[in-house]
């Protein structure tokens, strides 16, 4: 360490955009996440993968035995397990992304003090937010890949198009993660986080996850079609059998807009979230 001279003590301002919030070093946040995962509890990682598989086994095989075949996206009959599997994958992408961007972020901010130590360095809040979202998506990607392999092993995949479910899951996770982090910036107590769960559960149950949307009266159908999960479920269901249409584009666009809106919200709320 060399002696500090007076000239060292006059800093030049960084004129690039977002200089107050961003140091172009998302990589360090990701590196830390990967290193911590190596030493932390593997059980938590595995549980996220196992949950949708358990649903698929119990409902797909169990209930499927009673139900038999149902009408698939193109009108062709498919097994009940093949019908709900893409929906379960969507739900798992939503749950993982929301968990990582709400409860996990809230805990690391207020209790684990991880972000405090990151923000004492040259990292800015935007580096931290983007790094955390990337880690959540990486995890989502691994889960989706694993689940798709399980689907293939169970004989539920009949077309190569089904592989597109993996990147589509990441898109869906990105949508939920970007909104989730924005929501977390408004949260002050753990009790308020229960509201997130309170919204997730009915979305999981009623977004055409286990049966088609047309069982509902028209008004309820419209409500569900406004909510994000339904778009994800329909998108993955179409991809699983390779049935594309105008609606495929609508579903993808829905998520692209959701990511755009979510990232704008999160970026605007970074000071509220990280710099109190």
């Amino acid at each position: 360490m060399s002696l500090i001279r007076d000239a060292d003590l006059v800093l030049k301002p960084d004129r690039r955009p977002f200089a107050a919030l961003y140091s172009r070093n998302i990589r360090a946040v990701i590196e830390r996440g990967l290193m911590a995962t190596r030493t932390s509890n593997a059980a938590i990682m595995i549980s996220g993968f196992v949950e949708p598989v358990l649903y698929l086994l119990s409902m797909g095989i169990g209930l499927g035995a009673l139900i038999g075949t149902v009408q698939g996206p193109e009108g062709t009959p498919i097994s009940y397990a093949a019908y709900i599997a893409p929906a379960l994958l969507t739900v798992s992408a939503m749950n993982g992304a929301l968990y990582d961007s709400t409860i996990n972020v809230f805990f690391k901010m207020n209790y684990g003090k991880l972000y405090q130590n990151m923000l004492h360095t040259s990292l800015g809040p935007l580096d931290v937010a983007l790094g955390e979202i990337f880690l959540a998506l990486l995890r989502g990607f691994l889960y989706a890949t694993g689940f798709t392999i399980v689907m293939a092993a169970m004989g539920l995949i009949t077309t190569w198009w089904a592989l597109l479910m993996v990147p589509a899951s990441v898109l869906i996770a990105f949508g939920f993660a970007s909104i989730g982090m924005g929501i977390t910036s408004y949260i002050r107590t753990f009790q308020q986080l229960d509201w997130v769960t309170f919204i997730m559960l009915p979305m999981f149950l009623f977004s055409a996850t286990f049966y088609p949307l047309d069982v509902y009266p028209q008004a309820i159908q419209w409500l569900i079609q406004v909510l994000p999960l339904w778009h994800g479920v329909e998108l993955l269901r179409q991809l699983s059998v390779g049935a594309f249409g105008v609606m495929t584009v609508v579903h993808v666009l829905y998520y692209v807009l959701m990511i755009g809106g979510g990232m704008m919200l999160t970026t605007n709320r970074l000071r509220a979230l990280f710099l109190k």
């Binding site: 800093l11 030049k12 200089a19 140091s23 911590a36 932390s40 130590n117 360095t121 040259s122 109190k276």
Partner: protein, 313 residues
Amino acid sequence: MIQNPSRPAVIVADQLTKRYGDFTAVDSISFEVPAGESFGLLGPNGAGKSTTMRMIGGVSQRSGGTLSIMGLDPEQQGPEVRAHLGVVPQEDNLDQELKVRDNLIIYGRYFGLPMSYLRPKADELLEFAQLTEKSTARVDDLSGGMKRRLTIARSLINDPRVLLLDEPTTGLDPQARHILWDRLFRLKERGVTLILTTHYMDEAEQLCDRLIVVDQGRIMAEGSPAALIREYSTREVLELRFGADRNAGAADAVAGIGERIEVLPDRLLIYAHDGEAALDAVTARGLTPLTSLVRRSSLEDVFLRLTGRSLIE
């Protein structure tokens, strides 16, 4: 009053204010810190010291006033300013999920430093913190003193030009405190500007070239420890204990001895240039205290004089 006006100011705070709702934690304080100085914020818990430190570090947004760190506003240029700051927060916030050495390496990565620099640097700092043997230990397995030393070592990973230390030795045993002070002196010799908060007067006297006494978010006094003691206290203090219920009554009996008398719940303080002479005057009045002690004035006395309260409650 700046001791060495030839050196540039590293920190300039002007009417710095922080409010949380109706509560004003930092109330329009102004100070300057020249390069290479060791500058202290002395005050009781809740005086606004940590909040001031957080604003300097750019992790808390101020409610009013201006702040310049090495010429930049930490709110507008947070990453650039913090690239040259080292921060030792009040509570150790080490990364529990990483091993001891990895804590240093990853922290360095947050500054965007390359591994080729960080590997030898981490080993050097482990040496500095006397933690070389613990390099692959879990953070949870370290003692309180070790954690504190690791936090301080971590704050040096980027060769900071300014080091912010918030209550650096709280919770350390005396030996660990002296080791730490020695490390801080070495940094000062290299030209690092030290900003530290403390509620220990001996620490302030040992480490600070100059300090501000802060209470309820306001600056009560500013100067070197010796100058503050000269200005706000006498050379010596006579401490008398008469027993819990009799201290207040004895205060009337000793009135007129020394320059000033303070009555504390457990003792009387008589401020006098010559403490022994004051004690003679007390015994000449026929008073027999249970114990008596003559000592030099300290910053504790300065604080008592300024606020009417003790520093440590």
